[in-house]
């Protein structure tokens, strides 16, 4: 089976603490993608998280602009402090921006209605996906994720980096209740049986392929999905089609 992939969980740029030489440039990323049949990827720049979102977002936009295989996600801060400009959604299409991420623990704020209510309502209406990192300690935990979705139940929310230990007990109630919640696949692939059982209960439409590169090996997630005990059509949906559909549904205008 020749599966093509669309990776939603990748970052580029030099890490501040690169003890094991894993930092990846755009050129290195594209070379890696070509070797593994990853046709497209949604990326962010590490500067968005570990530096500051404003220069980070700008750097990302410049770096992906002439790379047709790459799409970007911008990092949001509370607008009250005027550190980042308000987004012009119409322009984001030309810049190939397909979503937003948040690192409230790293950037010291609360991701909730009080802080970002208007913005979250707008992207909920526009079907802009948010990429929420629930494990790294930089973004949100499960309590915040549950509260956020209670407040914005139609938010298109892709839960990334789910956690080393199986997270079915956290994710399945969300999949059951919120129709626009999706799971990024890398840790589902790590946890024995989690991908197959999630597909069995909620359908393959709720999972999108991600690798966690450069922190984790792309080959790990790929090999698991290729040989998972699900239908070929389901593999294709997870590997590529689901995220393609989510991006297509974004309302830029």
């Amino acid at each position: 089976m020749n599966l093509e992939f669309f990776d939603v969980n990748v970052y580029v740029g030099k890490r501040i603490d690169d003890r094991y030489n894993i930092s990846t440039s755009i050129e290195q990323l594209i070379q890696k993608m070509e070797a593994l049949n990853i046709k497209k990827a949604v990326v962010y720049h590490i500067l968005q998280r570990d530096g500051h979102p404003e220069p980070g977002n700008e750097t990302l936009i410049k770096e992906i602009l002439y790379r047709p295989e790459l799409y970007g996600i911008l990092t949001v801060l509370p607008f009250q402090t005027d550190e980042i400009k308000k987004f012009n959604f119409k322009e984001l299409k030309d810049k190939k921006i397909v979503g937003f991420n948040f690192f409230p623990k790293k950037h010291n704020y609360l991701l909730n209605r009080a802080t970002l209510g208007n913005f979250l309502s707008e992207i909920e209406d526009r079907c802009f996906p948010v990429f929420l990192d629930v494990m790294s300690g930089f973004s949100v935990g499960w309590n915040e994720t549950y509260s956020l979705l209670d407040d914005f139940p139609k938010l298109v929310c892709i839960l990334c980096n789910l956690g080393i230990w199986n997270t079915d007990r956290y994710t399945w109630p969300l999949l059951e209740r919120f129709p626009n919640v999706y799971l990024e696949s890398s840790f589902l692939s790590l946890n024995e049986g989690s991908l197959e059982e999630t597909v069995k209960r909620f359908g393959a439409e709720r999972i999108v392929f991600g690798s966690g590169y450069p922190e984790r090996y792309m080959e790990a997630s790929i090999l698991q999905i290729v040989h998972s005990e699900i239908e070929e059509q389901e593999k294709r949906n997870i590997a590529y089609r689901n995220i393609e559909r989510i991006i297509k549904d974004i309302k830029y205008e």
Binding site: R19, N191, Y213, P214
Partner: protein, 264 residues
């Protein structure tokens, strides 16, 4: 990328590259949904990735060895070609522990291939007096001991491990998770102590560590382990093959080193 990658990618398993998983479990566990943890399902799943043998300790045995080790023995008897077990030790129950050591020999090789220790969970240090019986028995018989090891732990971190390595030179000490996070100590110890083996469960979750292990210490005492049925074999095999180490070293890690240890 080495040629094993293409073979595993196209077929899921490779006949001339069997896999031995030296660090496994069985049965449900409190902190994690494990849908494929029964012996029957485990055997079926192992076949997908060409995993010939897994060496496990049943989760119940880690809690209550007196009862749980019996379940491990039954599982090995049911699938003698697929399973070998560790005799689980809980130092909080010294009487049961003594009995387990006394009866170990009865099951050695056909069922048990070593002991499994879990100091962090049992809240008892590796060098503690209550473990002495296990280490002395294992040392005098050259038996494997797989112990959970975690960087910074007062129970099974680097300081505790070195105390054991200094004292018992014939034991085959398998460092489960390779003193996770304290990678420099893992490298230092495996270079210094010939009876130490580094096991890869939770190591392959991060890029770059394995490459460093192999570069610094070679691949002859690195063992493939996954905590299966916690974690998925294809995921870990993919991670191993995605690293920059050679095909020969992948083969050493996937099966050759463990074959020697298990005398297969």
């Amino acid at each position: 990328m080495n040629s094993l990658w293409n073979k595993f990618l196209s077929s899921g398993k490779v006949n001339d590259c069997p896999v031995i998983d030296i660090h496994c479990h069985m049965g449900p566990f409190y902190g994690s949904h494990m849908p494929y943890s029964s012996p029957d399902i485990m055997v079926k799943r192992m076949s997908l990735a060409g995993v010939n043998i897994v060496v496990f300790s049943h989760h119940y045995a880690l809690l209550n060895p007196e009862e749980g080790n019996k379940i491990s023995i039954e599982a090995v008897k049911k699938y003698p070609d697929k399973f070998r077990a560790y005799c689980a030790i809980n130092p909080n129950y010294p009487d049961a522990m003594k009995k387990d050591i006394e009866t170990f020999d009865r099951y050695y090789r056909d069922v048990y291939v070593g002991f499994k220790l879990l100091p962090d969970y049992h809240k008892y240090p590796l060098s503690g007096e209550r473990y002495r019986g296990v280490f002395e028995y294992a040392d005098s018989n050259g038996i494997m001991v797989l112990t959970h090891t975690w960087g910074g732990s007062v129970y099974d971190g680097a300081t505790e491990i070195e105390k054991i390595l200094k004292k018992y030179r014939k034991i085959k000490l398998l460092s489960g998770h390779s003193i996770h996070g304290d990678w420099e100590k893992a490298i230092e110890f495996v270079k210094r102590y010939e009876n130490l083996y580094l096991e890869l469960c939770a190591v392959l979750d991060e890029r770059g560590i394995l490459e460093r292990f192999v570069e610094e210490a070679g691949a002859e005492r690195i063992l493939f382990g996954t905590d299966f049925p916690w974690f998925n074999h294809h995921y870990y095999i993919g991670a191993l093959l995605g690293s920059s180490i050679s095909e020969d070293n992948c083969r050493n890690i996937l099966y050759k080193n463990s074959e020697k240890l298990l005398a297969l």
